[in-house]
């Protein structure tokens, strides 16, 4: 997800300080390593540029043919005459399902990470960490199967409860259809992104310097207060980065969404009603039968997903940078 890799620093010019004279004898290993690492950095930039160019080129072709408004049309019919397609439904569905997933996964993941690092006895913490690692290794198609076969049939109760108590909000109104809605997708995505957020947060919390925790303890802080004063603020930027990794996965998840969502090209204000779609799910379900222009249209939607991901990452970096001097990095 992280695309803001900097260009490696240029090598110092030869007319710098006198000790540069020693450069004449630069060892072969250093030169090879410099070349390798610089090459890797440049390679990444080239790769990203190539993807962007490819997506943009095909997208421009498709949008040129589109007779509807690409951003506001609630329809996906690139083979029609005239071709009409738009990403409104996909953008809505992608963002809504990811927001639900984040709202569920981030607090739970932070809780698990804190439990492993600060509460659990060492053995138990290790076991839980191992299980979380296992969760990360499950392929998404398996989550999709589990979601469709196990999760969906179990959700009637939850949906009924939400409808009874929160139905008045409109967001949790349920007509009684199969629970293959955005909320179900969000729950499934939350489970899928839980491991990555937990693992990264755990590492960050583990690195909180002992001396900061002792400082809080010595002031008479309870364990929870130590976490609030020393651990969470120190881990803040790491948790944000972890969440962004998770969000990236949620935005782009394909098979699991395709398997549990009963998709359609409409926007439901209620999260409990079936319908809607996401970028990745739409691409996966339409790609194999698409015509030339159909594929270009799908690629255009992929470009939008690409841009959304870039914006989300940029926003996260801004948040982290805004309080940089308080980050603890200079302590």
């Amino acid at each position: 997800m992280d695309i803001s890799t900097k260009v490696p620093p240029t090598p110092p010019s030869s007319d710098a300080e006198p000790q540069r004279a020693a450069r004449g004898a630069t060892r072969i290993g250093d030169r090879v390593f410099l070349g390798l690492s610089r090459g890797s950095g440049i390679f990444l930039l080239v790769l990203m540029a190539a993807i962007a160019v490819f997506l943009s080129y095909r997208a421009v072709l498709a949008i040129g043919e589109d007779e509807g408004n690409f951003f506001t049309t609630f329809e996906w019919n690139p083979t029609g005459n005239p071709p009409v397609f738009g990403i409104a439904v996909l953008a809505f569905g992608t963002i809504v399902s990811s927001v639900i997933a984040m709202a569920i996964a981030v607090p739970v993941a932070v809780g698990i990470a804190l439990f492993i690092t600060h509460y659990a006895p060492r053995k138990l913490g290790g076991t839980i960490a191992y299980v979380v690692d296992l969760l990360a290794a499950v392929p998404s198609i398996v989550y999709g199967l589990w979601g469709a076969l196990v999760l969906v049939p179990q959700l009637d109760g939850l949906y009924g409860w939400l409808n009874d108590y929160l139905g008045w909000t409109g967001i949790f109104e349920w007509q009684g259809g199969a629970p293959r809605s955005m909320l179900t997708v969000g729950i499934l995505l939350a489970i899928m992104i839980l491991p990555i957020i937990t693992n990264v947060s755990r590492e960050v919390f583990r690195q909180v310097p002992q001396m900061h925790e002792e400082a809080a303890l010595a002031l008479g802080a309870t364990r929870w207060e130590v976490i609030r004063m020393a651990v969470l603020p120190f881990g803040r930027s790491g948790v944000i980065s972890a969440s962004m990794l998770g969000l990236g996965r949620a935005l782009g998840e394909t098979m699991a969404v395709a398997m549990v969502l009963s998709s359609s090209f409409e926007i439901n204000l209620s999260l409990l009603d079936p319908g809607g779609g996401t970028f990745a799910q739409n691409i996966a379900s339409k790609f194999s039968e698409a015509t030339e222009i159909g594929r270009d249209a799908l690629i255009a939607s992929g470009l939008v997903l690409f841009v959304i991901t870039l914006l989300v990452n940029g926003a996260a970096r801004l948040i982290i940078a805004r309080r940089k001097e308080f980050s603890g990095a200079n302590a």
Binding site: P209, M211, H212, E214, A215, A216, L217, A218, L219, G220, A221, T222, E225, M229, A230, P233, F234, R236, E325, F326, S327, G328, A329, N330, A331
Partner: protein, 258 residues
């Protein structure tokens, strides 16, 4: 306000290893007591038993009695958290909270006990920073991060943070060992002022420092590596440095070992 510390028969363990053995001593209120001794003799461990920080280390365990006036710190039902609110601590490496401003660092302890009123916090922050001889240097940048200060200023910030909650006792674990001589001098002057209000216990590796700042000095030693540390003697500082009653103390302070 300052309280007397009375330790009797204190042993501290790391799991099964006994780090200090059978220590008894009394520390009078409004005095400075220095702990000196070679590395590994248990003086820091002993210091950390006085505010129940020792048991935070995994396997850390304490036997014996520590009385703060007439309250037994290790008595049944005593909450270590409330002990630490009465016995403040300053560490070897300055450790202001890096994510907090100077102001918030000083106010941190007060917020823990529930003080919320801005005017009250303002008063205590100013008073504590003045008490730590730091106010004039930071009053124009209270909202800047504490980690941007110099090492000596950070350590005085930590002292301000510790005294803001009005502890009865202030423990200092080699507070100057990471500082330059000028900053060290500033802290030593400060210790002289603080002892008007607090009972102070300071661990130091610097014997001149012990001689300069303390009223009483305790010498710790260990028989051999792997053996528990013991209190060899405690006496008036002037006497320890001129005419100690134990030969080992004289050998140590005259530089014959350690």
């Amino acid at each position: 306000m300052a309280k007397r510390i009375d330790v009797s028969g204190l042993n501290a363990y790391y799991s099964s290893f006994r780090a200090i053995e059978d220590i008894s001593m009394t520390v009078e209120p409004r005095t400075v007591t220095a702990f000196i001794g070679p590395s590994g003799c248990g003086k820091s461990t002993f210091l950390r038993t006085l505010n129940r920080m020792h048991e935070v280390t995994s396997g850390g365990r304490v036997e014996g009695k520590v009385m703060l006036d007439d309250e037994d710190l290790y008595g049944p039902g005593v909450d270590p958290v409330s002990v630490r609110r009465e016995v403040g601590m300053v560490f070897q490496r300055p450790n202001p909270f890096p994510t907090m401003s100077i102001y918030d660092n000083v106010a941190a302890g007060l917020k823990l006990v529930g003080t919320k009123k801005k005017s009250e916090l303002d008063d205590v922050v100013e008073k504590s920073l003045k008490g730590a001889n730091l106010w004039n240097e930071v009053k124009d940048r209270l909202n800047k991060p504490g980690s941007g200060l110099s090492g000596g200023q950070q350590q005085r910030l930590c002292i301000a943070r510790a005294i803001a909650v009005e502890p009865k006792v202030l423990l200092m674990d080699e507070p100057c060992s990471a500082l330059d001589p000028i900053s060290t001098l500033a802290i030593e002057d400060l210790i002289g002022e603080l002892k008007e209000r607090f009972t102070i216990v300071i661990v130091t590796h610097n014997m001149q420092q012990a001689a300069r700042v303390s009223d009483r000095t305790a010498f710790f030693n260990l028989a051999a590596v792997g053996q528990p540390g013991k209190l060899i003697e405690i006496d008036d500082t002037a006497r320890i440095f001129s005419n100690p009653s134990v030969q080992a103390t004289e050998d140590y302070i005259s530089g014959r070992f350690g």
